[in-house]
């Protein structure tokens, strides 16, 4: 399990990186490499040139303000996970990162790399969609900002074009009285989820006011649970759960079917996670 031959460069500026990316047919950005290098070790990915962005100046920054968190392309998952400011402004980041791989993976893996890799069972793309993140991309066509909702096109397929580089992602802070919950069914600690949910739930006076519900591991891209978002408004702990579960089931009829789970299970699991999240959010309000 050794990678096939490839060329390598290690630019120090974004411009150099873009030039290198444009110089070869199947060039790839090497950030954390925690998904790319295994694929290369399996010889599943054809790469002619790896452009290592880990030493590009300014790409590893993590900055927080009251409006959100901005994460640079080379910032590792551990760095964001351990950032208390980021955790308080966008709680979904720490909540999600706790589920991402293991310590050794997070020490190298990057937040932007997870978005670019777009594994349909990954947590971070769902957080990006749930929080309405904006992804800054630069490439042959110049700089542009892509909403997370438009970024994910399918399994391992995004709005990125050949030669593009994510420079940073901005996760906006969720609404003030909201609770963010990241929950998932996974077979082993640190695995990609069989099915998961990122929920940003606003609670008011013992009932859910509104929620942004994004499932992952369900389909090719993070899935907005629109029927469930409609059904959850006004829901309270003493309401029947079937209102929520049936809505989620309606949202997930097209869920994946693979060796880890059939599609009906994924729907049921996310339905259960939705109920669990709503109850937790309501309980959190009581505590406060």
């Amino acid at each position: 399990m050794k990678p096939a031959p490839f060329e390598y460069c290690r630019p120090s500026t974004v411009d150099e990186a873009l030039e290198a990316l444009g110089s070869s047919e199947s060039s790839r950005v090497l950030a954390g490499g925690q998904s790319l290098i295994p694929a290369m070790n399996f010889r599943l990915t054809d790469v002619s040139l790896l452009v290592d962005i880990n030493r590009v100046e300014g790409l590893d920054a993590v900055t927080c303000d009251s409006g959100g968190v901005t994460v640079g392309a080379a910032a590792t998952q551990t760095r964001v996970l351990e950032d208390d400011g980021a955790a308080s402004v966008v709680p979904g980041l720490r909540a999600a990162l706790r589920h991402v791989g293991h310590l050794q993976i997070r020490d190298r893996g990057t937040v932007c790399g997870s978005l670019a890799h777009a594994d349909p069972a990954a947590e971070l793309p769902a957080v990006a969609v749930a929080t309405g993140a904006a992804i800054d991309v630069t490439g042959p066509a110049g700089e542009r900002r892509i909403d997370a909702a438009d970024f994910f096109h399918g399994p391992f397929w995004t709005a990125l074009e050949d030669g593009d580089l994510i420079t940073e992602v901005r996760f906006p802070a969720p609404p003030p009285r909201s609770v963010t919950i990241v929950d998932e069914i996974c077979r082993r600690a640190g695995d990609f989820a069989v099915a998961g949910l990122v929920a940003v739930i606003e609670v008011d006076a013992g009932a859910v006011r509104s929620a942004r519900l994004v499932g992952f591991g369900l389909g090719g891209v993070p899935t907005r649970l629109q029927a469930a978002e409609a059904a959850i408004g006004g829901w309270a702990a003493d309401h029947p759960v079937v209102t929520l579960t049936e809505a989620v089931m309606a949202d997930t009829t097209d869920a994946f079917d693979d060796i880890h789970a059939p599609n009906w299970y994924r729907g049921e699991a996310v339905a259960a996670l939705t109920v669990r999240a709503a109850l937790r959010a309501l309980a959190t309000e009581e505590e406060v």
Binding site: M1, F42, I185, I259, E268
Partner: protein
């Protein structure tokens, strides 16, 4: 076996029975362990195998020219190049002969079958070459069989043209007494139980390094059985055995997978001989998942006759093994026979009629995995007992109590001839129940307020045959091991044993045994294992045999050595032999104040100052013993029965689980093991064996499953993302307690403990989850018990009640 030394150690052991710290630890702890992949020889070339990407096909062409043209590639070899290599022997007469060639010639029968070897200056380039060979290979696909049903269907595509069907063997005894039980019983139920395909998965993959110098071929192999590798490699390469030396350096686990002798074990030495250059092949994990044996894939069609009071009158069980392609040496056929032999466990239950069937499919060959068929049988028996308890309203624990062998009932001959020599069958169960009761209460209390959680308890009682016959498995080898003990002039002891090990602590164990036998400290004992040139013949570590084989062979050799040493000491002390005793590491005249004679003095006399020897005594102080357990049988008797194990350990597992109804997630809240492996030599090592075995059992109960596409027989796994080896977070804390029922006929009463841990968990988890979900009537019949399986069972239960598609809650 009767040895004077035996009773001596039993009465005055200083090291046997204690957790003597392991001597094997320092290497791996400091990074200086030496595994096969750490061996580097001057000029060594790297080998990579091209493997079939088809499940069943004729190879119509292999174009190796591009690979051969690649800079750094030294050679590419295919089957035709190996015409001077013999075929793997087919020693077992009653199973279908596979006539396996080391490299596939014109037909491949599973994804992963090796058909070409690329030799290059480094591993990276060798992989480049193998990719080019793969690209240059053309196939004519053949229809596939992906499971037992497909394999045994009439008109099924055949894997072997010279066979009548895909059935390799079908052994069907008939027992009139079982017929009578079915006639007389109140009720009968039928069910099918399934164990899924798994593997031992050592953290170190396989690997072979070979070098031929001055006519001697040295092979370093990550094998569990170096002497068997030597015998087989010599046979296949047509070399005299003394010219083949097999060394196993440190081994990173084996768990049965490395008992087999694989194509690579033969091809890599052949390459080293052919190119007159050292060659190395290290299996990578992608290969390991398809090219090292799989195991445990069995189906059991049972009929159970029972009475209204819960008495089980008789069971008929057809046990069917999915052998994969069958292209493995030794064949992977034996586990299903073990399943049937052990299925009734420690229960007093003679009315079992067990049929044994094996069929080939287009999957990785099946073979050995720790447990070797026992877990599959325990699963069937415990699920049957739970079902009968439920059907008759009998308490599950009480029903087991009624069936378990009681004190005084051993020796007990099982339905297939297995002779349970001793044990604590009832005692272990009662002790485990006692340990579990307060915990069950705690777990119930903890989850009492959660309407989404149910709690259940599961039981497994089992027996573990130890030091079994290898004749049934290989058709060739027997079941004993040799050891040599030597005392050097300085009084140091050297033990060389035919046994070898891969993490169990056999060196520490051997040192404890020799230290007690010769009255020295373990620090004074050097232990040599795993090198055919430096050790006498032995079969290696498998079948829970290490402890007994070491005990028997080391004590036998030690007793012989002691006899001679005592004679030398008596001569030096000018005393009668009978008056000389060994105490505190020296020979004395009993009751006398005369100075003692040390081991160094005896050793010096034996090897150096031969003038100090008694007249006519041959010099030297080195003795050997070949230990073969007395009552171990290798062939069926007139009634078709056999006791194919030297002794039988036993145990009880009880697990408490919580099940989340809405998601099907199962958590093992508590896991209790009561284990009886006879006399314990090193308690820490035994406990370690139990821990590791249970973890592997839980892996099989809940996580690991090799899945294949039913239409193409193509593997649906390629990595640790699909084959779910449990991490620390999935393995629960275990409480372990022990009984010690000595093996009455074996030295020191030692039985063996390697496999028992794996046996309980599938039965325990399925039983506990079924118990937790009893209000829905869930009764699980297969593993792994996954969240999906739990939800599917709840949906099926609900559908049966006419509750529509919606499952609870």
């Amino acid at each position: 076996m009767s040895l004077d030394i035996d009773s001596h150690i039993r009465h005055s052991s200083r090291y046997v029975g204690r957790s003597v710290p392991r001597r094997e630890d320092r290497g791996p702890l400091t990074g200086r362990g030496r595994y096969v992949a750490d061996i580097k020889l001057p000029g060594m070339l790297e080998v990579v195998f091209a493997r079939s990407t088809e499940a069943h096909a004729r190879i119509t062409g292999i174009d190796t020219s591009e690979a051969e043209a690649l800079e750094g590639v030294v050679a590419v070899f295919c089957a035709a190049d190996l015409s001077d290599v013999n075929t793997f022997p087919d020693y077992i007469p009653y199973i279908g002969a596979v006539r396996q060639r080391p490299l596939a010639e014109d037909r491949v029968r599973y994804v992963g079958a090796p058909y070409a070897a690329v030799v290059a200056v480094d591993r990276y380039i060798a992989e480049d070459g193998a990719s080019l060979v793969a690209a240059g290979t053309t196939y004519e696909p053949l229809p596939t069989v992906a499971d037992l049903d497909q394999a045994l269907a009439s008109g099924a595509p055949k894997l072997y043209d010279h066979w009548e069907s895909n059935c390799s063997f079908d052994v069907a005894p008939h027992k009139p007494e079982v017929d009578r039980a079915f006639e007389e019983a109140d009720h009968v139920f039928t069910e099918t139980y399934v164990s899924q395909r798994q593997t031992g998965l050592p953290m170190e993959t396989r690997g072979v390094v070979a070098d031929m110098v001055d006519g001697t071929l040295t092979v370093w192999s990550s094998t569990q059985s170096p002497h068997m590798v030597r015998t087989t490699v010599a046979l296949m390469l047509g070399m005299p055995e003394p010219q083949v030396r097999v060394i196993h350096p440190a081994i990173g686990g084996g768990f049965g997978t490395k008992t087999h002798i694989y194509p690579e074990d033969v091809v890599v030495p052949w390459i080293a001989r052919r190119l007159a250059t050292p060659a190395r092949w290290i299996e990578d994990r992608m290969e390991n998942l398809v090219a090292s044996v799989h195991a445990r894939e069995q189906r059991h069609d049972v009929e159970v006759a029972y009475d209204a009071d819960g008495t089980i009158r008789g069971v008929r069980c057809a046990s069917m093994l999915d052998m994969g392609s069958g292209e493995i040496f030794m064949p992977g056929t034996a586990p299903v026979f073990v399943t049937n032999a052990c299925i009734t466990g420690g229960y007093d239950f003679p009315n079992m009629e067990a049929r044994t069937i094996g069929a080939v499919t287009n999957k990785t060959p099946a073979g050995a995995y720790r447990g070797f068929g026992i877990p599959e049988g325990a699963f069937v028996m415990e699920r049957i007992i739970d079902r009968v308890a439920r059907l008759t309203g009998t308490d599950r624990a009480d029903l087991r109590r009624r069936m378990l062998l009681r004190p005084g009932q051993t020796p007990y001959v099982m339905h297939g001839g297995g002779r349970l020599d001793s044990g604590s069958h009832t005692e272990s169960f009662e002790r485990a129940l006692e340990m579990s009761a307060p915990r069950l209460e705690q777990v119930r209390k903890r989850h009492a307020g959660d309407p989404d959680v149910r709690v259940g308890v599961g039981y497994a009682n089992y027996v573990e045959p130890t030091s079994p016959s290898y004749h049934l498995t290989t058709g060739h080898w027997g079941g004993g091991d040799a050891a040599t003990v030597r005392v050097d002039p300085d009084g140091s002891v050297r033990v060389a044993a035919g046994l070898s090990a891969f993490g169990q602590g056999a060196e520490t164990t051997a040192a404890q045994l020799a230290a007690d036998a010769l009255g020295v400290s373990p620090q004074d004992v050097t232990v040599v294992l795993g090198d055919t040139e430096r050790t006498p013949y032995g079969l290696g570590s498998w079948g829970s045999r290490g402890a007994m084989m070491l005990t028997g062979s080391v004590l036998l050799a030690s007793e012989r050595l002691l006899d001679k040493a005592r004679a030398i000491a008596a001569h030096m002390l000018e005393a009668a032999e009978a008056d000389v005793v060994l105490e505190d590491g020296a020979f004395h005249v009993a009751g006398s104040s005369r100075p003692s004679v040390s081991w160094a003095e005896v050793g010096t006399a034996a090897w150096v100052r031969v003038v100090d020897l008694p007249d006519g005594m041959e010099a030297g102080l080195e003795t050997s013993g070949f230990y073969h357990p007395e009552n171990l049988q290798h062939q069926l008797d007139d009634t078709g029965k056999i006791n194919a194990a030297a002794s039988w350990s036993n145990g009880t597992h009880i697990g408490i689980v919580s099940v989340r109804i809405s998601t099907g997630e199962v958590t093992i809240e508590d896991y209790i093991v009561v284990h009886d492996c006879g006399t314990v030599i090193n308690p820490a090592l035994v406990e370690g064996q139990v821990h590791g075995g249970v973890a592997q059992g839980i892996a099989g109960a809940m996580y690991e499953h090799f899945q294949y596409d039913p239409d193409t027989a193509y593997p649906r796994f390629a990595s640790f993302m699909d084959y779910l080896v449990p991490t620390c977070a999935e393995v629960p804390h275990m409480e372990v307690d022990h009984f010690e029922s000595p093996a009455p006929e074996q030295p020191l009463g030692v039985k063996g403990c390697g496999e028992g841990g794996t046996v309980g968990p599938p039965a325990v988890v399925a039983g506990a989850v079924s118990d937790a979900l009893s209000e829905w009537g869930v009764d699980l019949t297969e593993c792994p018990v996954t969240p999906v399986a739990v939800r599917a069972a709840l949906r099926a239960a609900e559908a049966n009640r006419g509750g529509g598609s919606g499952a609870p809650p």
